[in-house]
């Protein structure tokens, strides 16, 4: 009797093992980092798994966390909304490339103001977030909006309270267009905000703006759209009034000089071009040039190549903007040159 039980148990174990070995052959790709691209990475991963059986385990713990995790080698790739500098990439042996883009939009809650009714420019936006412009009927705002009826109401500034790549890109733009901002506040994923209220995450800012009359905040375009918030149009570097659209985000990316920075570390804020949205932001992937686990990195590169090739429509559906073809081509050339296995053989073959 006991032998019977034992043999049954062994057989059950053998079956269980053989089941688990199937996915073990096709191990999941592990990654961690930025929260902003998480929805599109999840969507790509889902479609990719259906096609190839290889899944993605992506932890959206924030850009800073992604950089920490890849440096600690606990994941195959890291993801960050703030690019690493050239010297950081050299000292750590990491390769960096942009994966997808999005736009940051200023959102407001003002009675009688509909989407597209309000226009702002960079310096004015910075002055509002500095607290120098504290009322909606301030001359500077009225001058940009001669036809709008702006209320005599205090501006309630809402910003991110958690560290965020969105804040990095937003503050990069404000510092680029306003010397006072550059000197007093600066550029980082977390800031010492001169005024306002901190809310956690894009959803927190969106919610607080929606609740507070007279509020202004900044969120990823997708959140503004989903929450039906009133976004403001912007005056871009060329002096044109632009609306936040996928076309305007693409224009900024197309006008950027991607080869100018090591690791494609171009911040897309305030790019030239008549159509360019001034607060466009890319998000980056980090992998080791000589990975400890070459097979896993090769799997990850295959996934990224697949996403570049087939993921554009999915990105568009979620209000992200795919990378331009010339950038993709250049990134794939970099892969086949720089990212190598133990014998110096490239891990990515076109």
């Amino acid at each position: 009797m006991i032998t019977l039980i034992r043999s049954t148990a062994l057989a059950a174990m053998a079956v269980a093992l053989s089941i688990t070995t199937v996915p073990a052959d096709a191990a999941d790709i592990t990654g961690a980092g930025a929260t902003f691209p998480y929805p599109i990475y999840a969507k790509w991963a889902d479609a990719y798994k259906q096609e190839t059986g290889i899944g993605l385990n992506y932890q959206s713990i924030g850009s800073g966390g992604g950089i920490k995790q890849i440096k600690a080698k606990t994941v195959i790739f890291g993801a960050s909304d703030a690019p690493l500098k050239g010297e950081d990439l050299d000292s750590t042996g990491l390769a960096q490339f942009p994966m997808v883009m999005g736009g940051i939009v200023p959102v407001v809650n003002l009675e009688g103001i509909k989407p597209g009714d309000l226009v702002l420019d960079g310096p004015t936006l910075a002055d509002i977030f500095l607290g120098k412009i504290a009322n909606w009927n301030d001359e500077a705002i009225q001058k940009l909006n001669p036809d709008a009826k702006l209320p005599d109401q205090a501006i309630a500034v809402i910003h991110r309270s958690d560290g965020s790549g969105t804040t990095f890109n937003f503050s990069y733009y404000l510092a680029d267009v306003n010397a006072d901002w550059k000197e007093k506040v600066g550029v980082a994923t977390a800031l010492e905000w001169p005024v306002g209220l901190g809310a956690k995450g894009n959803e927190g800012v969106a919610n607080n703006v929606a609740q507070t009359s007279g509020a202004i905040g900044y969120v990823e375009y997708a959140y503004a759209k989903q929450n039906k918030l009133t976004y403001a149009d912007m005056i871009n570097k060329d002096g044109n009034k632009v609306e936040p659209t996928a076309a305007a985000f693409s224009a900024a990316a197309a006008n950027a000089d991607w080869s100018s920075q090591p690791g494609y570390g171009v911040i897309l804020a305030n790019q030239p071009g008549a159509e360019s949205w001034p607060m466009t932001a890319a998000t980056w992937i980090l992998v080791y040039k000589k990975p400890d686990n070459p097979d896993a990195t090769a799997d990850a590169l295959k996934f990224f190549a697949w996403s570049y090739a087939k993921g554009d429509d999915m990105a568009g559906a979620l209000d992200y903007v795919p990378m331009p073809d010339n950038v993709v081509k250049s990134v794939e050339e970099m892969w086949s040159k720089d990212i190598v296995g133990s014998a110096g053989k490239p891990l990515y073959a076109e």
């Binding site: 560290g163 901190g198 956690k200 609740q211």
Partner: protein
């Protein structure tokens, strides 16, 4: 003859059995003794381990900023200048608001439940209080953000701001703009969260008052108020203090609910309606994205400060209790 031999034999075997039993009892007793002592020692080891790792993690920040870390309001990740004053202020003020509101209400509920409540109501109210304690803090956070804060923003805050406008002192304590979230809202949410702790512990210690004591007080003609005030509360003050301390401990360390409704701004404002931050909210908000050793270390230093604050408050309450006991004894 044979009978005596048998009894002799049986009595000696009985003695053996008894000795074996005693040995067994002695063994289990000493084993029990060792186990309980180990458990008690484990607490000290864990506490020591936490303290040591906090100090080690906080060391880069503490050695860079020194004592000024405690009195600097600035919290600037760009220039890497960090000070803990704003979170310390926020932590103490929100906890104080919570305790000031929750202690009288909690004691009131406990008094009602033990002394005045009709039997049929006792269970439903008791269960409701315990349910309040069982709600996860994230639920309080979401409720606070979506329901409570908008209510305060639209109905209460504009009214209070207008009411105290121009009154010296109070006008700056309650000044706008009415964001809805801020120190006051956090304090109110914390009060709701610590209320069940204070209530249920106070109720339990009130139940320990011997009926004889209360009956004799009633017997000499005391009113219910006098019995509670002169007999029940003095008899149970150590337990009440324990409940208050447990509530205060929860208020000081509460993270999720506060993060949702405090406004997360590293600033000290005179107004209770202004956004602020607490130690635990700062850590929860910023830890994931804190890049750079000094930034991370400053957040751990905040944790160390919270550890020390909690320790100091517990020590102070022990000291206070000791003095009360001594005075009562003399």
């Amino acid at each position: 003859m044979s009978i005596t031999a048998e009894t002799a034999y049986s009595s000696s075997s009985a003695a053996n059995i008894r000795a074996a039993a005693v040995r067994r009892f002695a063994f289990t007793d000493s084993l029990f003794h060792i186990l309980t002592r180990l458990s008690a020692a484990l607490v000290l080891v864990i506490l020591g381990g936490v303290a040591v790792s906090l100090v080690a993690g906080a060391w880069p920040a503490l050695s860079t900023f020194g004592w000024s870390f405690l009195v600097t309001e600035s919290w600037n990740p760009v220039t890497e200048k960090f000070g803990a004053l704003a979170p310390i202020y926020g932590t103490l003020v929100t906890s104080l608001i919570a305790i000031v509101i929750a202690v009288p209400i909690g004691i009131g509920i406990a008094m009602f439940l033990t002394e005045l409540c009709p039997r049929s109501l006792r269970r439903p109210i008791g269960i409701a209080v315990e349910l309040l304690a069982g709600i996860p803090s994230i639920i309080y956070g979401i409720w606070g953000l979506f329901v409570f804060a908008p209510f305060l923003q639209v109905h209460l805050q504009p009214f209070v701001i207008k009411l105290f406008h121009g009154v010296p002192g109070l006008s700056s304590l309650f000044s706008g703009p009415p964001y809805g979230i801020g120190l006051m809202t956090s304090g109110l949410i914390l009060a709701i969260m610590v209320l069940p702790f204070i209530t249920s512990i106070t109720k339990d210690v009130f139940d320990t008052v011997p009926a004889v004591l209360k009956e004799s007080a009633y017997g000499i003609g005391c009113t219910t108020w006098e019995v509670t005030r002169r007999v029940v509360i003095p008899y149970t003050r150590v337990g009440i203090m324990g409940g208050v301390m447990l509530g205060l401990g929860r208020a000081l360390g509460e993270t999720m609910a506060v993060t949702f409704v405090i406004g997360n701004a590293h600033r000290i404002s005179a107004s209770l309606f202004a956004p602020g931050t607490t130690i635990s909210a700062s850590i929860a908000n910023e830890f994931t994205e804190a890049d750079g050793e000094l930034y991370t270390s400053s957040l751990i230093a905040l944790g160390l400060i919270l550890f020390v604050i909690t320790f100091l408050i517990l020590a102070a309450s022990r000291f206070m209790l000791m003095r009360i006991e001594r005075r009562a004894g003399s």
